[in-house]
């Protein structure tokens, strides 16, 4: 693709100052108008044929030498694939069998790619007890399998055929100068249809996309609520809730949505029918939904955070943050921790397991306006009143990676799946590339609307940025924003009804308990070292219980009771009694300290005891007793 742009041989867009290469805007499966893009693909196939791509495929793949050109090859897998077909037609290509004979074994995987899927260092077998040979063998085998898994995962990358597009400016121009109308003119119809404006009346609007990026929910402050498939523009419902709307969000599917209204939070279905009124969440300002935990989180005017398990309808926890109005809130998609921004310049992180914040970071020296975390959960962007934009390393708390001055305080921030950062200031939206690395000074794209922006979000799996303003909604085309390859098991934009049903059940079955929310989600595969140490200490104490030495010299007794044998027995008895007494007290003390017998027993699961079921009679007797 890039090669083509450099050569400037695009017949179609030659007159334009810059070309839009719609790698991802349209989709083959969707609509019939993707012909322009298709043609482009074809061209790519031709241009790359007989050049670097070809040589890569034939020789580089097996030679074990990895050049710089290789990386490009991985990006343009599709291109080289098509070339392969073409050459086959030409009859140059040798048969598959010979191919394998020439380079026996499977194709070598790109080490960089392997690194990407790497799982870190394995077990140090040397350290494990030597004499248990089969165990060691087993561990070694497992390590081998892990290696295999990494390699296989890297191989599967081949199936990610789509690549994201981008804007490239010709010399002397900037990509930021390309307007939406330019783009719309350049791209195919389907893609052009993705950029649209809605003029609405009911006051500043808020918006939310579903996780698969297919549906859109908009709500006006004056009570206007509408949900629709924004690609086909099919309206699901439209209603006026007759109350002010402060925030809204989709729940696990597009068929349920939560809306924070003046007093309480309401749940509506796809038809606009009110399903629930959540009175435990009152005067809510911010709503967040944690999809894997089925938790609806709300922050309210009084600074109270509450988590509600929507699969059970139970409130998990409600805590008072004590930091005032919770107007700035976002979730970290990586670990499901809530990040709240406060007027004292701090960002606090909350989990539903504690009434105290897990962490609080002083980010700005002035009140915060917006916080957002990127989809990978690595970076956090904060914008403050001090007209600064800061990028933080979330996992390494408190490490500021970049700090930028901007002309006005940003009111909204949004990370796209591909790492673009959109920032709204008043009526201006700007999209930046490489904010994290600091390679950018100028915006990648810029858009100036007629009104103040009140809501902004990148649409997942699409090159689209949705902004909701005071008087409507507009969808902007931002090439290269969305992830081009979707994981259908995770979020499928083209999901069918039955598929959605199945996914719903599956996701409910694999619901992650809220107990597991923590800063490091991998801590579940870690050892609870404090408890381990406690146990070891306890064991030590148990092992080292030893009765004190006593002098068992009994009283002399008459009448043959002090014969040597009797005396010995008596001594023994005294000794044993003393020891027994001591041990008793020691054990009692241990039990008091909570380190008794029960401590080392595996605690029986409470769930097992629960309610006898009808099927119990089929169980074997032993199991029944339990």
């Amino acid at each position: 693709m890039t090669a083509k742009a450099r050569k400037g041989e695009s017949g179609k867009f030659a007159t334009k100052p810059a070309k839009f290469q719609g790698g991802k805007v349209g989709k083959d499966k969707h609509g019939g108008g993707g012909s322009g893009r298709f043609q482009e693909r074809k061209k790519q196939g031709k241009t790359t044929r007989g050049k670097a791509g070809q040589s890569n495929y034939r020789n580089g793949g097996q030679s074990g030498k990895w050049k710089d050109g290789q990386t490009r090859k991985w990006r343009n897998v599709k291109a080289s694939y098509s070339e392969w077909k073409v050459t086959e037609k030409d009859g140059e290509m040798t048969t598959r069998k010979e191919h394998t004979e020439k380079f026996p074994g499977r194709k070598v995987v790109d080490p960089k790619l392997l690194e990407k899927y790497g799982r870190g260092a394995g077990v140090n077998v040397q350290k494990i007890r030597k004499w248990n040979k089969p165990m060691i063998h087993r561990i070694k085998m497992k390590e081998q399998k892990m290696k295999e898994a990494e390699e296989e995962a890297a191989r599967v990358e081949l199936l990610l055929t789509e690549s994201s597009g981008q804007l490239e400016a010709t010399e002397g121009t900037y990509t930021a100068h390309i307007t939406q109308s330019d783009i719309k003119k350049a791209v195919d119809i389907t893609t052009a249809a993705k950029g649209f404006n809605l003029k609405l009346e009911y006051g500043p609007y808020l918006m939310d996309y579903t996780r698969n990026g297919r549906h859109l929910l908009i709500g006006g402050r004056k009570g206007h609520l509408a949900s629709f498939d924004w690609i086909t523009k099919k309206l699901h419902f439209e209603t006026n809730v007759m109350e002010s709307i402060h925030d809204l969000c989709f729940l696990h599917t597009e068929r349920m949505m939560a809306v924070a209204q003046k007093q309480w939070v309401y749940v509506y279905d796809n038809q606009g029918v009110e399903l629930h009124c959540l009175k435990m969440m009152h005067r809510t300002l911010q709503l967040e939904f944690l999809p894997y935990h089925f938790l609806l989180c709300a922050g309210n005017e009084a600074g109270i955070l509450s988590w509600l398990d929507i699969s059970l309808g139970k409130e998990v926890i409600r805590t008072r943050t004590g930091k005032g109005r919770l107007g700035v809130m976002c979730q970290n998609p990586y670990n499901a921790v809530l990040c709240c921004g406060h007027p004292n310049g701090t960002v606090t992180m909350w989990t539903p397991n504690s009434r105290m914040p897990v962490a609080s970071i002083l980010c700005h020296t002035q009140p915060l306006r917006k916080v957002t975390v990127d989809p990978s959960g690595r970076y956090m962007a904060t914008a403050g009143v001090d007209r600064q934009l800061k990028i933080w390393d979330v996992r390494n708390l408190g490490e500021c990676l970049k700090s930028y001055y901007i002309n006005a305080g940003a009111s909204h921030l949004s990370f796209s799946q591909k790492g673009l950062l959109a920032m709204s200031m008043g009526n201006v939206v700007e999209v930046f590339r490489n904010v994290v690395d600091g390679g950018c000074k100028k915006p990648y794209m810029q858009h100036k609307g007629g009104n103040t922006i009140h809501g902004m979000q990148f649409c997942p799996y699409e090159d689209v940025l949705g902004i909701s303003t005071y008087n409507g909604f507009s969808s902007l085309i931002i090439p290269g924003a969305g992830e081009p390859n979707y994981d259908a098991l995770e979020a499928n934009p083209y999901i069918s009804t039955s598929g959605r049903r199945e996914a719903e059940v599956k996701s409910l079955l694999s619901k992650v308990p809220s107990d597991l929310i923590t800063l490091d989600p991998m801590s579940i595969c870690q050892v609870d070292t404090p408890t381990l140490q406690e146990r070891i200490e306890a064991k030590k104490t148990l092992l080292h219980v030893r009765a004190p030495k006593i002098d068992p010299r009994p009283r002399y007794r008459m009448k043959g009771k002090s014969g040597s044998a009797t005396m010995f027995k008596r001594k023994q008895k005294i000794r044993e009694d003393a020891q027994r007494g001591y041990l008793k007290t020691a054990l009692w003390q241990q039990a008091e300290a909570g380190l008794g017998k029960e401590y080392f027993k595996d605690k029986p699961d409470q769930e097992q005891k629960e309610q006898p079921t009808v099927l119990d009679r089929f169980k074997p007797k032993a199991a029944k007793k339990k």
Partner: protein
């Protein structure tokens, strides 16, 4: 022949002793008895004869006949060897007796004596056994060859048969438990044999990833494409298609037997060549093996020592080369060698150690202990011994060193005070120092490096000096002359010093400190000279700084460079965000985090000590700079930086953003954002930066304090002292009864702008779900965590791998009987193993 005799001699003698010693006393009695029992006539005559002799001999001297008798008998015994038959045995002594009597010269006694002997022989004929024994009793040592069999034959049946009979009696049965034990042992062996043949099978089964029962598999062999016969082509179309396929090389033409044979065939020469190479390989292998065996067998200490030394020398040269190419690698290697040396040193036992003491106690009873002690002593002696440099290789070294010396002189770096060049000078005359070669090999290179550095500096100094001199030459011509004289005298002094010291050095080891002190002295002298040149008279403390000032910045810079070179601390530039953050697990690791900046290599430590020595002598300025840097790191380590501002303030860049238009259209609406902005302005004015930071600081302190375990005081007032409303408990008592909690490790404690609440993050609910006991075979948390680090679910890994990872250990086929293994399994095993290989 002689040898043989001597070999046999003692053996035979022993045998005889054994045989003889017993009957010795008995027999003398028994003979007497038998004599009484036997022919009385003869006996009587014998007695009379004897009395006659004794009577006659009384006059000559009592002892003489007795002695003669004895000598006679001994002669008889000497000829025993020849006496193979009974008759001869008897007869021989007769004649010889005659001779001896002749020699004796007592002719009068001859007849009586002969008769006596005859009589005796008669007795002996009848009871030769007794006679023989009697004869033997007097024998001291028998050097002649005697066969035990003959003796046994001569002894006859009576005694031997008796003893034999005794042996033949049935043995006393062994004790029950011993019998049982023996039985058990035998049984164990059998069973062990029986069981051990299953060992491999069991091992394979245990190691198997998955086992699917029943284990027996049907032999299903798939016929591969090669084995399939080519299809019979009947129609034209088939022919055509087939030819096309062949053309595209999709079908492999089958090779006939003949073609195969041709392919494999070799010419005679090829065969010969092949045979030759094979033979050669075999021969070479054999030779190497032989050599290795011989080398292994060699017990010569000297040989091994030579080998070791050669190895060391090789290492040294390698190291030097490596140092030229890659100093870092050389350092590493040096470290390794040092470690080896340390290990060797550790393995040596002290002569007066605890071990030696115990061995000494044991040595009276235990031979092994004695041997060990001796070995230790020997080693001690060897190690203490000065090494002769007779070996050719050593002399080579010397020549090399001489060369080096010459080179050094040529380069102008030769310094007799320098231990390395000095040692070069000394080597030909004095015996080699132990330190320099054997043990101090590692230190050798280190010191050498250091001294090279010093030399380099000297050259630089000289250069600088030369420049200064050039400037002031004209002015200070006169002074120079004086100084030259001074120098001369001082050099003379040096030499005399050196000579004196050389004498000492040959006697004892030259300590490093001593070297340094020497170097220091020399350096000081030089300094003085230089100062004189510059016309500065000052005390020792000031001299260096002043010189530095005079010489200017150039030298200073160079010194800094030197310091950098010697600073081994490796500060790696870390990426801002590590992709995989490692978990801090132990207190040590947390400490490490702090210390990471200061790389504490053993070598660096060694160099620190070196630097100290150096600093005392020459480069005080360098030391100062070094110290200051060290201090800085220490300070940072001690005082944990908790200033939030430091962390907040990252150098901000300016983004080129557009200015938003001021909104006018939505005046009528209740626009929150505008209200917000107004509010924000107010807030901005209200909140000063410092105020927020201070607030955060205090919040952090409070959080830390809260989470810190409190100390407990168990003081009871009134015990051991007065108490009351205005009386305080004594400080001593309070101190005594105070229980201080241990220091808690806290994450992100040193990060100023973060308050981290670990109890909230890793909360109790989560900890319940975490693993709190290491599974059986693991001994370290790290390893266990590594073993569960990767996901196995089908959403994380490809399906095929997921299936592999989650395959059950055992699968059983329904409806089949799982039979126990039979011995056939062993046969199958062989196949399996061969397949594996």
């Amino acid at each position: 022949m002689r040898k043989k005799k001597t070999k046999i001699g003692p053996h035979a003698a022993e045998e005889n002793d054994i045989f003889i010693s017993k009957p010795k006393e008995e027999d003398s009695e028994s003979t007497n008895e038998r004599v009484q029992e036997g022919d009385e006539k003869v006996h009587a005559r014998l007695f009379s004869d004897m009395s006659k002799i004794s009577k006659k001999k009384m006059s000559a001297g009592n002892k003489k006949p007795h002695a003669r008798l004895l000598s006679d008998v001994s002669k008889v015994s000497k000829n025993l060897r020849a006496a193979e038959e009974d008759d001869i045995f008897i007869s021989r002594p007769k004649g010889e007796d005659g001779e001896t009597s002749d020699e004796g010269g007592d002719e009068g006694d001859e007849k009586a004596h002969i008769r006596l002997l005859n009589d005796m022989s008669k007795i002996s004929k009848k009871k030769n056994q007794a006679a023989k024994r009697e004869v033997r009793t007097t024998i001291g040592t028998i050097t002649e060859e005697i066969k035990a069999e003959d003796l046994m034959n001569r002894i006859g049946s009576s005694l031997l048969s008796q003893t034999n009979k005794k042996v033949k009696t049935t043995q006393k049965p062994l004790e029950k438990h011993i019998v049982q034990r023996a039985k058990r042992a035998a049984g164990y062996e059998d069973v062990a044999m029986e069981v051990s043949k299953w060992a491999k099978v069991v091992e394979l089964r245990r190691e198997a990833d998955t086992l699917s029962f029943p284990l027996k598999k049907k032999n299903t062999e798939f016929s591969t494409v090669d084995k399939v016969e080519p299809p019979k082509l009947t129609t034209d179309l088939e022919h055509e298609v087939y030819s096309l396929l062949e053309g595209a090389k999709l079908v492999k033409n089958q090779e006939t037997e003949r073609e195969k044979a041709i392919r494999h065939a070799m010419s005679l020469e090829e065969v010969k060549e092949r045979m030759r190479t094979l033979w050669r390989e075999k021969e070479m292998k054999h030779r190497y093996e032989e050599k290795a065996r011989r080398q292994n067998q060699s017990k010569s200490k000297k040989h091994h020592r030579i080998l070791r030394r050669e190895k060391l020398r090789k290492q040294k040269t390698e190291l030097q080369e490596l140092h030229k190419k890659n100093p870092d690698a050389a350092l590493e290697k040096l470290q390794e060698m040092e470690l080896l040396r340390i290990q060797e040193r550790m393995s040596q036992r002290h002569r007066s150690s605890k071990w030696a003491k115990f061995q000494g106690l044991r040595a009276t009873r235990d031979k092994e202990a004695m041997a060990a002690l001796q070995e230790n002593a020997k080693m001690h002696r060897e190690l203490k011994m000065k090494i002769n440099k007779e070996e050719a290789s050593d002399s080579e070294d010397n020549s090399g060193s001489e060369q080096q010396k010459e080179e050094a002189i040529a380069a102008g770096t030769y310094d007799p005070m320098n231990p390395w060049t000095a040692s070069l000078a000394k080597r030909p005359q004095a015996s080699q120092d132990m330190l320099s070669m054997e043990e101090g090999d590692a230190s050798f290179t280190k010191f050498k490096k250091f001294w090279d550095e010093v030399n380099r500096r000297k050259i630089e100094e000289k250069k600088a000096q030369a420049i200064v001199e050039a400037r002031e030459q004209k002015e200070k011509d006169e002074q120079k002359e004086e100084e030259a004289e001074c120098e001369k005298s001082e050099v003379d002094k040096d030499e005399t010093d050196k000579n004196a010291k050389n004498g000492e050095d040959t006697d004892h080891l030259k300590s490093i400190d001593y070297m340094f002190s020497k170097a220091e002295v020399s350096l000081k002298k030089k300094m003085k000279k230089e100062l004189k040149k510059l016309g500065i008279e000052s005390t020792e403390g000031k001299e260096w700084t002043k010189v530095k000032k005079k010489k200017g910045a150039k030298i200073k810079n160079k010194k800094a460079a030197v310091v950098e070179e010697f600073d081994f601390s490796c500060k790696s530039t870390e990426n801002k965000t590590d992709e995989k953050l490692e978990r801090v697990r132990t207190l040590e690791e947390v400490e490490e985090l702090g210390q990471r900046e200061e790389a504490t290599d053993s070598i660096e430590q060694a160099f620190q000590t070196l630097k100290k020595g150096e600093a005392s002598g020459k480069t005080k300025g360098v030391k100062k700079s070094n110290e200051s840097s060290g201090d800085k790191t220490e300070e940072t380590k001690k005082k944990v930086e908790v200033d939030p501002t430091k962390f907040i303030q990252v150098k901000a860049e300016r983004l080129h953003t557009a200015m938003p238009d001021t909104m006018t259209t939505d005046n009528d609406a209740l626009d929150d954002s505008e209200e917000d902005e107004n509010a924000e302005d107010v807030i901005r004015e209200a909140f000063a930066d410092d105020y927020l930071i201070d607030e955060f600081k205090s919040a952090k302190e409070a959080a830390i304090e809260e989470s810190e375990p409190k100390e407990v005081s168990l003081v009871l007032p009134g015990w051991g002292e007065w108490t009351g409303p205005n009386l305080k408990v004594s400080a001593r008592k309070r101190k005594k009864f105070r229980i201080q909690p241990g220091k808690k490790i806290r994450k992100f404690e040193s990060v100023g702008n973060v308050i981290y609440n670990e109890s909230a993050d890793v909360h109790q609910n989560l900890r319940k779900a975490m693993v709190s006991q290491l599974p059986y075979q693991f001994t370290s948390v790290k390893d266990f965590e590594a073993s569960v680090r990767a996901p196995v679910g089908r959403t994380f890994v490809p399906e095929a791998v997921h299936k592999k990872l989650t395959a059950p250990a055992v699968t059983t086929k329904k409806g089949t009987i799982i039979e126990p293994m039979t011995e056939n399994e062993l046969l199958a095993l062989r196949k399996e193993i061969s397949v594996r290989k």
